[in-house]
Amino acid sequence: MIAVILIILLVDLFINPKKRQSSANIRLAALLPIVLMTIHTLINIVPSHGTISAFGGMFQYTPMHTVIKAVLNVGAILVLLMSPEWLKRDDVSVNRGEFCILTLSTLLGMYFMISAGHFLMFFLGLETASIPMAALAAFNKFRYESAEAGAKYILTAMFSSALLLFGISFVYGACGTLYFDEIPTHLNEEYLSIMAFVFFFAGMGFKLSLVPFHLWTADVYEGAPTPVTGYLSVVSKGSAAFVLMTILVKVFSPIVSDWHQVLFWIIVVTITLANIFAVRQKNLKRLMAFSSISQAGYIMLGVISGNAVGMTSLVYYILVYTVANLAIFSIISIIEQRSGKLTLDDYAGLYKTNPKLSFIMTLALFSLAGIPPFAGFFSKFFIFMAAFKGNELLVFIALVNTIISLYYYLLVVKAMYITPSEHPITSFKSDCYTKVGLIFCLIGIVGLGIASIVYQTIGKFSIGL
């Protein structure tokens, strides 16, 4: 595990000198982090058996962590693949190296957060992940919206961290320890424990943008540069969801009936409200923001089950969601760079001018909506299956909501294929990074469901209540 961190630090070191913009090594600068990340992922993709812990149990390492980290790496690589096109722009190209460093340091933070065995380590990881993220959101600092997004993100992140810390202090008050392994024995159904859970959950709710805590999402997603939005919606959300599941299952297991009830209502509200809001959006990035809120609700279905199947389905869902969502963000990003257009109306007639892009976009949207034979169908089916027992009503509400979500995904498809347009987006060729990224996503969208091996591999390492 330490090797993982070393490699990432090495990556950082390598990129630093490249900040000096000699045009000859622009290509190298774009390629290097991608290649290094790929190598790093490949080295670490094979999970070793058994649990290892470091720093006196503060840092734990289980095979499941390798799996979720591999999933996050895939997301990070895809984001790096879609970014070079954007980083070519004059106002951001000077900071090319910084983008990679910031992205990778958030990833490092998430690693710590995932592997934490102690609330302090967990909190350190969380902060390492969220502070650079605010810088990323404000990366286009000369654009008003981007700066606004950065400010909004940092304020909400601070607020949620404060809530989280408050919750953690309650945990300490109730249990006298912050080690994950020791807390369950001290936790009981008293008010202090419940309060600890409530504050902790509210803090996590901000990170995951679950509904009562979602208000920052649409603005930040709209204002932040598109690759960063993609990163926020997938990698950041995925890691938070996984951590929430492990902590609820491992740490808050004595008060399972309480968090079960809270989650139930949060899921219902999240999915329903987010879907209803998404229907009215005209800006594609805002639409995807609300879509990602509702997807977070679906991911929570894996958490509510609390069993091993739920965890498998959750990680699998994140993986499938990663490839589909990042395919869409890649396309939004490249179209934004080439034509500056972002609204639903602008996408009218896209199929006539850019058939390949709209085809991949369609498949990705179908995958998000859960249409077979694409991977999204399998991940949705499995997460419903995991949650079904005991939560029949919840699953039914979630299912009805998939129809609403299908409606707004189809609106995008309709714009691309059906609506005629007098000024369609002109035809263009994507750069090779975007192409590689999209082909990778396409393989994921089509292949992940049919190849059951992925799910079964994840399933081997899952744990439950």
Binding site: T312, F388, F396, L399, K414
Partner: protein, 496 residues
């Protein structure tokens, strides 16, 4: 290599072929070869099925094969057919074959059109061969979604509205269905998704009473169950010709087939208890559909409402829980599939020439386009149940079977449903008289040309099938009734 896997493999190869093809000629070659291969495999399957049965092979499902897919979730890719599925596969293959010819000259974006069309057929074939709940549901959804683009891009009239309405209503139904399927799986002990295995397990009655209506409605929406039939007229009338054919001809049968094979087979007690609610609804479907067809002026709307009526008859028959009626239901699915495909094909061809589907604007077409007109008359006569065509055989069997139920409730409903035959005659003869006979008053229509060779292939194939089933129904009826028996006895054993 299992014979049944071919039915999924061929469409997949067709998709690949279409993907690689560069011009119209190549696209057509791929489609014709693929569709013919499907038709030949369906005929081969029927023959070998009949041979196997004649040789005394017993067991509910033949040609079984199964591959474990998702082990932790007990999901398998398992296939198998009985007489009902064989009949449905044959029907689908015929419609896909004729549909290819009916959309021979379709423009624009021909390649994309056939890609989605083939994906739709993959779903249909996959559905009929599956006996695993998961794969069945998966193929069911695969068959639904291409409809959105097929109607939305290539349709006519208020196509965007119709496409969205159809897709959302059917996907909404599939939400019910998914809930029902998960309910069945968990109440049967969460050990298997295999239909034949679940049938031997006991699902508690309290659970059955929840999941039966869900599953039945889920499938029933696709079978145009009143009051969830409203997608059908809009969708069918906006869809391009071949898509209407495939959708009304095959896809609506997925509903009836699913109600019978999944909802009623797996939850027999609830089916017995709750049948009366759905019987009333389906009777309304039958009569209401027929009356609605009488007042429509758009040819496609007339036929779409007629489909609501006839598909209602299928659901009515299976809910009668009676062997003869259930055999009639499957025959009706087959017969209605062929008839309605013929109808939609002819309407599409007439519309392509006259550019109107309003019956008030057409008359005297018989003299101008005799081939299409004669085809239309044949379709109409088959539809109103003239002896010698498939419609008669199916409806006769249904009503004889339904009337065998002794209680007044079933008999009254049968009599009410029977009236639809008369109403059908009214709207069919009205249309035929209006548009085909008399003197042509529209000068533009005098210049119309008759069917081209590709259209003739489509029409003749379907006419042969309709007449063939009407003249020699016994082999098909026997094949179906053998396979209906285990399901019906599963249902009736509970009462006696």
């Amino acid at each position: 290599m299992n014979l049944l896997s071919i039915f999924v493999l061929i469409p997949l190869l067709m998709l690949l072929g279409l993907w690689l093809s560069r011009n119209l000629a190549q696209i057509r070659t791929v489609m014709v070869i693929g569709a013919s291969a499907l038709l030949i495999s369906a005929i081969t399957l029927t023959v070998s099925y009949l041979q196997a049965r004649a040789a005394g092979v017993t067991g509910d499902m033949l040609f079984r094969a199964s591959v474990v897919w998702y082990k932790p979730l007990n999901i398998e890719f398992s296939v198998g057919v009985d007489g009902i599925s064989v009949a449905m596969l044959l029907l689908s293959a015929i419609i896909v074959f004729t549909g290819t010819f009916a959309s021979w000259r379709l423009k624009p974006l021909t390649k994309e059109y056939f890609l989605w069309f083939t994906l739709l057929s993959t779903g249909v074939f996959g559905f009929f061969i599956s006996i695993d709940l998961f794969t069945m549901f998966m193929f069911y959804e695969i068959a639904l979604i291409p409809m959105y683009l097929l109607i939305g891009v290539w349709g006519t009239g208020p196509k965007e509205y119709a496409a969205m309405k159809l897709t959302l209503m059917l996907m909404g139904a599939s939400a019910f269905l998914l809930c029902g399927i998960l309910g069945i799986y968990f109440s049967a002990g969460a050990t298997t998704m295999d239909l034949t295995k679940i049938a031997t397990l006991h699902i508690p009655l309290s659970k059955q009473l929840i999941w039966f209506p869900m599953t039945f409605v889920g499938f029933g929406v696709l079978g145009a169950l009143f009051p969830f039939h409203t997608w059908s007229p809009d969708g069918h009338s906006s869809a391009p010709t071949a898509v209407s054919m495939l959708h009304a001809g095959v896809l609506m049968k997925l509903g009836g087939y699913g109600c019978f094979r999944v909802a009623m087979y797996l939850m027999p007690q609830a089916a017995n208890q709750l049948a009366w609610i759905f019987l009333i609804l389906t009777t309304i479907s039958v009569v209401y559909g027929a009356f609605s067809a009488c007042v429509q002026t758009d040819l496609k709307y007339i036929n779409a409402y007629s489909s609501v009526s006839h598909c209602g008859m299928v659901l009515l028959a299976i809910l009668m829980i009676n062997k003869t009626a259930a055999t009639g239901a499957v025959l009706q699915m087959l017969s209605h599939g062929l008839m309605t495909a013929l109808f939609f094909a002819l309407i599409g061809m007439i519309y392509g020439r006259t550019h109107t589907r309003d019956i008030r604007e057409m008359n005297g077409l018989m003299r101008i386009i005799p081939f299409l007109s004669v085809g239309y008359v044949i379709a109409g006569l088959a539809n109103l149940g003239l002896p010698g065509f498939s419609g008669f055989v199916a409806e006769m069997t249904i009503f004889v079977g339904s009337f065998q139920n002794y209680d007044a409730f079933h008999r009254v409903l049968t009599i009410i449903a029977c009236t639809s035959i008369v109403i059908t005659a009214v709207y069919i003869l009205r249309v035929i008289g209006k548009i085909l006979y008399g003197v042509c008053t529209n000068k533009e229509h005098l210049k119309l040309s008759d069917a081209t060779w590709d259209e003739k292939i489509a029409v003749i194939t379907l006419v042969i099938c309709v007449a063939g089933l009407g003249l020699a129904p016994l082999w098909m009826s026997n094949m179906i009734s053998d396979s209906v028996t285990p399901i019906i006895s599963n249902l009736t054993n509970l009462i006696h």
